[in-house]
C-alpha cells in the first residue's frame, strides 16, 4: 500500500467538503437537528418523571452513537457514489490505485467523520442538556471503534451491491442502515423485542454497543462479553464484506460493467 495514494483520495474529500453545502450539512446540520429533536423529547420525558432511569442519558447516548454508525457507513458508500456521479470512477481505477488503498482511504475518511460528529454532538449535548459523553469513560473508545468498524462494513457491503447492480441500487447507500436500526436495539433494550427477533438482534455488532451503553449508564459496568461479542461479530462481518467487495469488483470487471457504472 502506498500512503500517497490514500492521501490523494483523502485530500480530494477535504477539497470537496470545503465548499459543498450538502456535505457540510451532512456532518453539521442533520446530526445536530436530530440531537435537538431527541434532546427536547428526552427533557420532556424526564419532566414527566415516569421512569426511574435517566431517559435523557439513554436517548442522547443512543442518538450520538447512532449518528456515529451512520457517518461511518456513509463515508464509504456516499464517497464511492460521488465518483460514480461525477463519472470519475475510471480515472481513479486506471491509476495504480489498489482496492486495498481505496478501502483504506474510505476507512480513514469514516474515522475523520465519526470524530467530527462525536465532538460536535458531544459538545452540543453538553451545552444544551448537560449530557456528559465522557460518562462512558474508557468504554467510549471500544464503543466508537465497534461502530466505526460496523459502519465501515455496511458501507463496503452497500458499495459492493451498487458496483454489481449499478446506481439503480444507490438507495441502499442512504437506506440500508435504517433496516438495521429496529434490530440493533438503539433506543430500547433487546429484551423488549420479541424472542425470535432477539436472535437476529444479537447477530448485529452494534446491538452490543447500545446494550453496553445502557449497561454502563445504569450500573457503571460493561459486561466484558458485550465487548468480546461486538468485536468478534464485527471482525467476522468485516472479513466477509471485504471478500464480497473483491468478488463483486472482479465480477464487474469480467462483465465489463465498470465503465457503464452510472
Amino acid at each position: 500500500m502506498k500512503i500517497h495514494r490514500i492521501n490523494a483520495l483523502l485530500m480530494r474529500h477535504i477539497y470537496l467538503f470545503q465548499r459543498s453545502l450538502p456535505r457540510i450539512m451532512d456532518i453539521l446540520f442533520w446530526p445536530v437537528l436530530e440531537l435537538l429533536v431527541w434532546g427536547f423529547l428526552s427533557v420532556y420525558l424526564e419532566k414527566l418523571n415516569i421512569t426511574s432511569v435517566s431517559v435523557l442519558t439513554f436517548l442522547l447516548g443512543a442518538i450520538i452513537f447512532w449518528d456515529i454508525l451512520n457517518q461511518s457507513q456513509k463515508a464509504v458508500s456516499i464517497s464511492f457514489l460521488e465518483d460514480v456521479w461525477e463519472k470519475n470512477f475510471l480515472n481513479i481505477f486506471v491509476s495504480p490505485l489498489k482496492l486495498s488503498e481505496f478501502l483504506s482511504a474510505a476507512a480513514l475518511l469514516a474515522l475523520i467523520r465519526i470524530l467530527l460528529v462525536a465532538v460536535i454532538l458531544g459538545v452540543l449535548a453538553g451545552l444544551f442538556y448537560h449530557f456528559n459523553i465522557f460518562q462512558f469513560g474508557f468504554y467510549l473508545i471500544p464503543f466508537m471503534a465497534n461502530l466505526l468498524i460496523f459502519g465501515f462494513s455496511l458501507g463496503i457491503f452497500t458499495t459492493a451491491i451498487i458496483l454489481r447492480f449499478g446506481t439503480a441500487a444507490q438507495i441502499l447507500a442512504f437506506g440500508f442502515i435504517v433496516l438495521i436500526q429496529p434490530f440493533s436495539a438503539v433506543f430500547y433494550p433487546v429484551s423488549s423485542l420479541p424472542q425470535y427477533i432477539q436472535y437476529v438482534s444479537y447477530l448485529i455488532p452494534s446491538t452490543y454497543v447500545f446494550e453496553g451503553m445502557r449497561a454502563v449508564t445504569s450500573s457503571g459496568v460493561l459486561p466484558v462479553w458485550h465487548l468480546v461479542l461486538a468485536f468478534a461479530t464485527n471482525i467476522f462481518y468485516l472479513l466477509l464484506v471485504v471478500w464480497f467487495f473483491y468478488r463483486m469488483f472482479s465480477s464487474v470487471k469480467v462483465r465489463g460493467r465498470l465503465m457503464k457504472l452510472d
Binding site: 477539497y15 470519475n88 495504480p96 465503465m259
Partner: protein
C-alpha cells in the same frame, strides 16, 4: 520490444464475442490508431489493456509484463483520457490536478502542474471550478491530467469527440507536440478518419473483434485502392454490416 503486445485476445459477454482472437503489437514512440466501426471491439480492447475488463482468454503484455502480476508498475507508466470520463466538476482545476498527481506519486507536484499548465495553456484557469470550463478547456485539462505521471504510453479514446473543428485541430496539434517533445507512445481511437490520417503513424483496423488490417495510413489506402482513409473505413464498415 513493443510497448503493447496483444496475443490471441478473446472477450465474451455471455454469448457475444466482442473481441475474437485479436493479436497486434504497438511500437514505442509512435501514434497508433485503433479503428473500426461501432461495436468492433475497440473500447473493450482498450479497457482490457487498462485492466478495467478481464479478458476471457489471451495475453496482454505492456512494457513486456503482464497486468495480472505487474498492474501497479504498469499503470504508473500509463495514462488515459476520454471525453466520456470526467474529472470531478465540484473541484477546482488545480485541486483535480493535485489529486491525480498524488495518486500517481508525482514528485514536485507544483512544478509539474505548472509545467503542464504552460504546455497546455491552462494556467489562467487553474483556480477556476472544473464545472465552469468549456469543452475545449476540459479536453486540455484531461490531457494535462493524462501527462502528470510522464507516461510512456497514453491511451486516448475518441479524444476529439464533441469538439468543434477549431478546438479539435488545436488538440491534434497538441498530440503531435506531446509525441514529438515527450516521445510518448499513443494508442488512439477515433471515428474521424481525416484526423487519424493526419496524426497516426500506423493504423490497426478491427472488425467484429478481429484484426482486419494493420499498416501505415498510406499503405492501407493503397491496399484498398481508395482515395483516403475515410473511404477505407466506409468500405470496411459496410462490408461489416453485410456479414
Amino acid at each position: 520490444m513493443p510497448i503493447i503486445e496483444v496475443k490471441n485476445l478473446v472477450k465474451e459477454f455471455g454469448k457475444v464475442r466482442a473481441v475474437n482472437d485479436l493479436s497486434f503489437s504497438i511500437e514505442e514512440g509512435k501514434i497508433t490508431g485503433l479503428l473500426g466501426p461501432n461495436g468492433a471491439g475497440k473500447t473493450t480492447t482498450i479497457q482490457m489493456i487498462l485492466d478495467l475488463i478481464t479478458p476471457t482468454s489471451g495475453d496482454i503484455l505492456v512494457f513486456g509484463e503482464d497486468m495480472k502480476h505487474h498492474r501497479e508498475e504498469i499503470l504508473s507508466k500509463v495514462n488515459f483520457s476520454s471525453p466520456y470520463v470526467a474529472l470531478p466538476n465540484s473541484l477546482k482545476v488545480i485541486e483535480n490536478l493535485y489529486t491525480f498527481a498524488r495518486l500517481y506519486g508525482v514528485k514536485n507536484i507544483r512544478e509539474k502542474v505548472e509545467e503542464l499548465a504552460d504546455f497546455f495553456e491552462i494556467r489562467a484557469f487553474l483556480t477556476k471550478m472544473t464545472s465552469s470550463l468549456s469543452t475545449g478547456q476540459l479536453t486540455r485539462l484531461n490531457l494535462t491530467k493524462a501527462l502528470l505521471n510522464d507516461p510512456k504510453l497514453l491511451l486516448l479514446d475518441e479524444p476529439t469527440a464533441s469538439l468543434d473543428p477549431d478546438i479539435a485541430d488545436r488538440t491534434r496539434q497538441m498530440f503531435l507536440k506531446i509525441q514529438r517533445e515527450k516521445g510518448i507512445s499513443i494508442l488512439y481511437t477515433s471515428h474521424n478518419m481525416a484526423e487519424v490520417e493526419e496524426i497516426c503513424d500506423r493504423v490497426i483496423f478491427i472488425q467484429h473483434g478481429k484484426l482486419k488490417d494493420d499498416g501505415t495510413p498510406e499503405d492501407i489506402i493503397m491496399k484498398y485502392g481508395r482515395k483516403d482513409l475515410n473511404e477505407v473505413f466506409l468500405h470496411i464498415a459496410r462490408e461489416s454490416t453485410k456479414l
